[in-house]
Symmetry: D3
């Protein structure tokens, strides 16, 4: 079925969409209207619903699915959907809210198997036990949450997808630089962003929690490792080193790590994280760009635009 | 009794001193010698001990007290002690190593009483219980450790002294701005640097521990609060807010706080900490400066030098 | 009486308001209209006046008080006032323009008394005479001007209110750090922003004067001290030190002080100024925020948002 | 045979060493002396030669090999060699100056084979021809030069060794992110630092040439690609893209790239370069560090020190 | 004839204008409209053309000249042209597209003569030959291109005009500091921005080429000098020095020069370039400003606004 | 007569020198010695005087002229003078202390004439009267002081020499950009650094005064202009504009100007000042450098080194 982002300006649409957010305004004629952000897996589009009743305001709210008939138009250079008809979708019509949110290109089960295998390969029991304990504690959220609210891996299961890509990178790099401690590196990859399951509100309409805003996923996870070690009665230096690897993975104080990497594997983790995030962002913007053209400026990549060479098909 | 820093160049000394550090070199005649840093409460002085035997090297090591006879001389613009005679002090000769280290100008007991009183005044039971629990857990070290290895309050009991001064400042400020939550502010003051009892090695010859270097006192304390809340079974928002206040007290990411202050009292705590540290540094450098003259450049104060006006006696 | 900011969207209003600014536009039908910024003590609101005559344009100008009947509506997410009727208020209708501008929460007389008392307490005659001379020279403006056009203390008598708060803070701090020279500190507090009476245009519709833009209040005041000393025939080092304290009170070159603080009291003045300005900004934004919510981002506080804990009533 | 860096303080040595540099001074007795930096593959050591004749000054110059008898001593905390006897090595005594300089751990032939294979795998003929042409033009130097005068890969054949490691990294990464253009990436790796064969003076006593100082290896190589394309009569967009990849490989303007990466492969090249350089630096400093200890501060790694965990053997 | 920028709001116009850009939108009534940027030598103005046909969309495109009848109106504080009638100008009606673009205030021939004279005065044959060769190669474009797409000298022949002004400045400065090498300085001035003829698309609707975006005019010119020297068989140090002077003329790495000036004349060139660009920007903004008023903020001058003193007529 | 900087290592000297500074130390044999900095117009050299008596310490002090016999030697890479004989010069022996300090290459009288002529040419009476008044007030010092203690024009009459060079530059530039107000520019040049006569201690052994350290020459001069205008009863906008031009001449807040240039002539003054200072520094370091070699790194020029091309004789 054709997705909302695949329609051109001028085409008529008749689709199911998820309401991402709804906000009320008053038109110049004094009547209330709603500005709706509507989405499916292909992306999101703005729509105005004019002359709304109190009942409309109560119906059309975030996380509801609607059936919409309308036109795609260009309003001040941005695509917009003019609604002609709208109604709430009935329970039997649409299978699952998950069909309307973007998600990782790999199924959860495949990711779980891969992560389990990497943990299984660890030889240092302290590192292995702490990693397994924390992953188990937050398992459901880990495989559902995005890795961020925007910038990179901002889709359902994005967190696990990011971790799995990084584990493969870590393995390749550890193969080329044999001085690296694979256990530490794998544990670092698995734990580095796990605090996001507390920092963020969930996989849909993702926002920051109070803990997320006031402490951040790095500090949250450092405390979690501390508590895990206490529960498992582990006292080796591995505990502090694992905390440090998570703590320092943003690489610099001004990027939110209160200590810079001071362990070889911490330095490598920072680079792997960086590289995978950037590849994800670049692949997304370049997939929307034709050869011989430039992407939009990407804020998270120093506001650069990127060129797709004409000899790249 | 005259302290080592009170002697002038050219004078002869005969004193007990604590060895702060000792390092071995080889003289141009091929014989080994020791470079000793010797100190009492007034400060420290470098001394060379020439032609040392293996036995000397074993005797004259850090944290030993020695009896020294020698002259004060000026070597390349710096004061130095030329040793004529040296021997280890005997157990009965000197009362206590504490006599040789600089310490806070207020006795421990007075500080303890004051801190206890401030905790007693708290009305929010969650804040009060966490603060009391953590202070009790680290009580001995809290009243003995310095607040830093250098820059400010770098003397025995400096940590508690810094906290007590800040509590008084906090009280005065809370009096002038009644919107402030005194409980939070007092708890923030008491806990903000408490992680230093794990970050630093102890009150004498203070250095950084592995945990101190890899995690830092801020992250250490954030984990400690988390564990305290778990032990005390406290779940209110006070836990996250206390963690945030400790987390953010350096004020900016590039100064080591992974989040900037986002709570009114966190902002105030940062200012109080800053002001008390600066007053301590300024009082120390200006006490060594005559009216109409400049202090040396102070690295921790943006490398500024300060002027003492001639009308200041 | 209900103030303009206390009305909700949809309500009808019938009030006196002060015109803060008025600008002319041409509507899509080719007819001129006015965009009016209207205010009372509670804040300001935008209004459009359509199809205006030449006479209207002459009447409805900045600093006039008008009687308005209209509706509150939400235009693109911002509150707006739709004017149904408007006329100039007659002289007998409204007591005083001062009723329409926000002002300090303490009466002028109380502030004057306090400042006078602080000057009276000074013991250094040079410092006292210069301070008294300059305050007297600019007395009327000092008690009427705001402390800034925006960010903090941006209301009538804001300058004096800021100074009085800082004097109380200075007294509290000087009590805790007895090495401080109270006279210098009080004089610094009183004079530090006095140049704003030349930098700014006045208490209503405040803007920058040419002198304000080209020289700034710091340099203006440094010259004023120089001239005062000449008039009073004072030659002691107090003159240069007072100039320095004013000169350096922004703390860093990049914040507009051509020299950083190089006197103990100059350093303290910078901190007191900073703290009082921040407390004022925080109190204002937090008074508009409910427990469990965040303030808007505050540009002058590094664009941070602040959280109001749920346990703060 | 025992290398110079393997001797302890106090030991006597009798070895061949290469003079890296020699500078003349006058002793306090008015007689001239030489300060020699002497080296073998293990590192370098300072030595003083006292009371030198005119003949000595002429003999003991950079790039000569000498036979030295002497003692290792500790002078102001640094290792020094006291010379007892010295003479120029005779031609038949020492096989090759290359024995005295540090070099890559992989033989040249193996590296040449690998690079040739990567070029062979390229499918874009424009990219392949330019790469092959430039490598052939600078082939001898490419396999002999260091990658830098200090910081990383600062040894003979360091440039080729760095390139070969990066090619393997590039292959592993391209395997994980199939959107990458392998030809561009391999060509970028091979050419990115090739300008160093013009920027630097050679493999021994390496310094910067005038072209190196005034233009830098990046600009030199951009011109070389331009000239190569002209000679080979290649006009496709590949020319500009290859120039860009070399131009931007330092990643930021302030790091010497006049444009930041604006092509996906340019971004990846920058990361691979960075990662390999850092791994090389870390391996070197950590190989000199015992478990449970810290390395010295590494200037090129933001002046950080690194910790070697105790559980790393 | 009256130019478009000389009309006031409310006046009716009947003029020929050049379409600078045209973009299509859909009005709230669902019909397409065009937003046209129209210009003549005095500047540019936005206009809306409502209810356009497919034919209109094909006719009214960039670089076409149109005859327009309409009104000047004020739309949200910006001047706008409401079109009443529009048609394409016929070939015989308007002499030349050049009449509609802003251009340098000096005729091309006068500039050519001046540049030729400066080259003639050079005494170093290597410098003279390279300069003459490159100027000849790019001669037509050099006298037609602007110096930039915005900020300074952004008009037809702006590049040559900028160079001629700088040559005169260079001559005056070389007269005052006789240590300067005039040949180098003149060559540096002539070549420094010559790469813009490849970096930019042309004198009308100027944008960046792919080479411009990926390499920049500095690197382009450094390669050009390299190739010129090869063609002319010149091998002296002048080649590297000329490349360096061009390379470093932005003054700092973060401003796009991969090396800072390391030759006296390179330093001077940077200052002359800077000064002439700033004088051009200042003259333009101040010519639109009345005495006693401020210019708008100028982004390229650190976002400053400038004051025109009242005593400047 | 041969100057001290013209001697080579190994040569014997017998010369008059000025003592720039003298400091006392204690040798390893316990006897006091003096470290003397001795200078003539060619530069300065360090010398040690061993085994000094109390009388020697009283005789050999700053600003005395001595007759010295000794040898030039190389001590740790720096030139040093070993004193064999020393005595105070007698009054009749040496003409004038001025013979021993470096000074401007143009006689005072010529500079005075030039400055007078520039003031004479001013047409705005307010600008002319203030400039003349202030120059007259500080005339003697203006023609004797250096422009700085180091970096540029750090020699007797350096201030006037710098001003005269800048006046000539200003005239040349004003000739090329006729929109410039010559009067303002000349007045700005003459007054911009005049505050240095209060900031610095004098032409010999120059150091900073208390006013210099606490206020700086910029703020000092802004006050001076203010007082001059009051004395001359001048009230036009020229006063504020002149103050602004002086205030802003360092160009940026972080370089010590509390406001950036906001007047066209202020911007130009900043550039002229910068250019003349840099030319002076470059001429000095390049005069000591041979073609084909590099200067030392110049701290005030961003720590760059400069290359002297081989084709520069």
């Amino acid at each position: 079925m054709k997705k909302i982002m695949q329609y051109e300006v001028g085409e008529q649409v008749e689709v199911y969409l998820l309401i991402k957010s709804a906000s009320r305004g008053t038109a110049s004629n004094g009547k209330p209207f709603l500005t709706l952000m509507l989405q499916d897996q292909s992306g999101e589009i703005e729509a105005k619903l004019w002359d709304v009743s109190k009942e409309d305001e109560g119906n059309y709210i975030a996380e509801k699915i609607v059936r919409v008939v309308g036109d795609i138009l260009n309003y001040k250079g941005r695509i917009q959907l003019r609604i002609k008809q709208i109604r709430l979708a009935q329970a039997h019509e649409v299978p699952d809210i998950a069909e309307f949110v973007e998600k990782a290109p790999v199924p959860k089960e495949a990711m779980m198997e891969k992560v389990t295998q990497y943990i299984f390969e660890m030889r240092n029991p302290n590192i292995q036990r702490i990693t397994r304990h924390l992953l188990k504690k937050h398992q459901t959220a880990f495989y559902e949450y995005p890795a961020a609210t925007k910038n990179h891996h901002e889709f359902a299961s994005g967190l696990a997808y990011h971790v799995v890509s990084m584990l493969d990178l870590a393995k390749a790099i550890a193969g080329l630089y044999p001085s690296l401690d694979q256990d530490l590196l794998y544990a670092g990859v698995i734990l580095h962003d796990l605090g996001k399951v507390i920092e963020l509100s969930g996989p849909i309409s993702t926002s920051y929690t109070v803990e997320g805003n006031l402490l951040g996923h790095i500090s949250i996870m450092v405390s979690e490792i501390s508590k895990a070690a206490e529960e498992l009665d582990i006292h080796g230096e591995e505990v502090v080193v694992l905390q440090h690897i998570v703590l320092s993975h943003h690489g610099k104080l001004e990027w939110g790590s209160p200590k810079p990497p001071m362990i070889r594997e911490a330095e490598v983790l920072h680079h792997i994280d960086n590289l995978d995030a950037k590849m994800n962002m670049l692949d997304r913007v370049l997939s929307r760009t034709k050869p011989g053209e430039y992407t939009d400026r990407v804020f998270a990549l120093d506001n650069r635009m990127f060129y797709k060479p004409t000899f790249h098909q």
